[in-house]
Symmetry: C2
Subunit: 352 residues, 2 copies
């Protein structure tokens, strides 16, 4: 087992001083050609690499980003992480991932654990519990300490920081409009409770579209699923709620704020003997594996998670590397969305 060499051992071995070695390796003109050559050769031979930790301590920056998300077994979030990694690695940054598991407490712990020097800045999508508690002190304190935060997707209006979102209201309206154009008369929505910003905004878009078409909004057609935690563990509960919804509402068009809700609704609808898209048209939000491989393949809104990740990383790294970061006003980037036409809607022929 050969230990990683340090400047010190190289110095001793070559009988020069540590600083000479350091300078030689960084090609300082203070050092003589001959010495440089010797040092470099030796360093290469022993595969010298500067110790990141020492550099971090010296430079007071770690070149690593902390990403805190509610769950990782989730297509959208992993897509975002991909985008973050892609941009970050390109700029020489590493990525530490922390999972809040939708829990306020875990989010706080993760934040604190990493805020003590481990990372230069955060990219975060806030836990549902945090959103419902409306307790954001950990976030504002972090920012107060000079550690920049970029929020994406699940965002807090009251906190001043860079944000990357999707225009949930407009996008949802577009989706509902598509349902209307496709001939749906009775359109419902499966959303989340209002404290989840994206749920609230998407519901707003749904209402806007109905209003714009002079269709009366019926409260009973708005189902707000209450899943504080990972809904994937709780399919039965979800199915039940949707089942009841179908009992009480006769809809021929359905907009779901995520693909799981959409897929589950389709399953329940099928059980009730409905044919998709003939009896019921469905549009989901977030283009994940489920949508693509569903039966029938689900028409859905692509959120471009990869791009959101890239934009978030860019925003954060820009702020970190910009000398007068404090003066830069905070930006909110709105990433565009697309409707991916598949086979659960009637208008336009599905392309493939």
């Amino acid at each position: 087992m050969k230990q990683k060499p340090t400047l010190k051992v190289i110095a001793k071995e070559l009988d020069v001083s540590v600083s000479t070695v350091s300078k030689a390796l960084r090609d300082s003109k203070e050092i003589g050609e001959e010495t440089k050559r010797k040092v470099k050769a030796f360093a290469k031979l022993y595969n010298y690499r500067p110790n990141n930790i020492a550099l971090s301590l010296k430079n007071k920056k770690t070149k690593t980003l902390g990403v805190i998300i509610p769950e990782i077994v989730h297509h959208f979030f992993t897509t975002v992480i991909s985008g973050i990694e892609h941009y970050a690695n390109d700029k020489g940054y590493n990525v530490i991932v922390g999972l809040s598991n939708e829990s306020f407490k875990k989010e706080v712990i993760n934040l604190e654990m990493l805020a003590n020097g481990s990372i230069d800045g955060f990219i975060i999508s806030v836990a549902k519990e945090t959103l419902s508690f409306k307790d954001f002190h950990h976030l504002s304190e972090t920012i107060d300490q000079g550690i920049p935060i970029v929020m994406f997707d699940r965002v807090i209006d009251d906190i001043e920081c860079d944000k990357v979102i999707v225009d949930d209201v407009k996008t949802s309206a577009k989706a509902v409009q598509k349902l209307i154009d496709g001939g749906c008369k009775n359109i419902g929505i499966i959303s989340t409770k209002d404290y989840v910003s994206v749920g609230r905004l998407r519901t707003e878009g749904y209402k806007n579209a109905l209003n714009a078409n002079h269709i009366e909004i019926q409260k009973s057609r708005i189902l707000k699923i209450d899943d504080k935690f990972n809904s994937d563990d709780n399919i039965e509960f979800l199915e039940e709620q949707i089942y009841t919804y179908f009992e009480e509402n006769e809809v021929d068009g359905l907009f779901a704020v995520n693909e799981l809700y959409a897929i589950t609704a389709m399953k329940v609808a099928r059980q009730k003997g409905l044919t998709i898209p003939d009896d019921l048209q469905v549009i989901g939000f977030t283009d994940g594996v489920l949508s693509k491989h569903a039966f029938p393949p689900l028409t859905t809104i692509s959120q471009h998670g990869f791009e959101m990740g890239e934009e978030s990383a860019k925003l954060l790294i820009d702020r970190l590397e910009n000398p007068n970061e404090d003066e830069e006003p905070f930006k909110t980037i709105v990433v565009k969305t697309d409707i991916i036409d598949r086979e659960t809607t009637k208008l336009h022929n599905p392309k493939k």
Copy 2:
């Protein structure tokens, strides 16, 4: 913006020495009660937290694990990460995630980037390209430098280190046996090229099961998909290969080495007018979202990714924290698998 306080500023503020502060905070009995109280109160007031980087440099360990996986937009891998995070966080470790994107070069870069002090050890699932190149120098060198590696799922026999796997051969045989018991006469397999260890082993299990039942092995029924890279980007290509396969083979039972292959095969089969499970029974490997929400829900093998993650983290942390780590023999943990009965097979009534 209030800066994080250091021991130094606390010391100056309280007019004592840095070491006194340090000791007081760690409740050393060398320090007087009165001073301790004062220091602690001050520290709490200013929300003092020791700087992780400084600790890392001092202790020569970072309390963070490096996880390198081929892709993150992938249910199995994220499940494993969840397990790793769960165990690691519990033990006070953080997790840095690096993506190889199935590329040899990116795997090497990631490894080197993190091996310079950023992490204490690696958990890795090897990229397909690395497997096909058979170039493992980066892995052996890392181990040589005293940085322990735990491999999971895609594992290299020639490298000595801790490993966490599934008994691919036996599990696959069990799956194929189930098909046989369910009345299938002509059973095929959709696997990967042999350099992917899990593909090779699962194919072996398939053959074993056929042999054990005195069923002749027909080479044409073994389809080895050649997707060096992320197959999710390449669905058409996959569909084509499977389509051709169905043209050339008449099978009534199909074992697929991952859920994507299974789902895609089901889709193609449906296009050809086959009914599942009446005309064709299917079993997949890896229980992901796709399987659960497929139509019909896919009978599949659960690999217990979360547990694999936990076991990997445990193996790694044990080795890191065990004083005489070098002497411990390397372990290979075989995580058990289960067949999850759903609706693409006939034997046994699906439970839910």
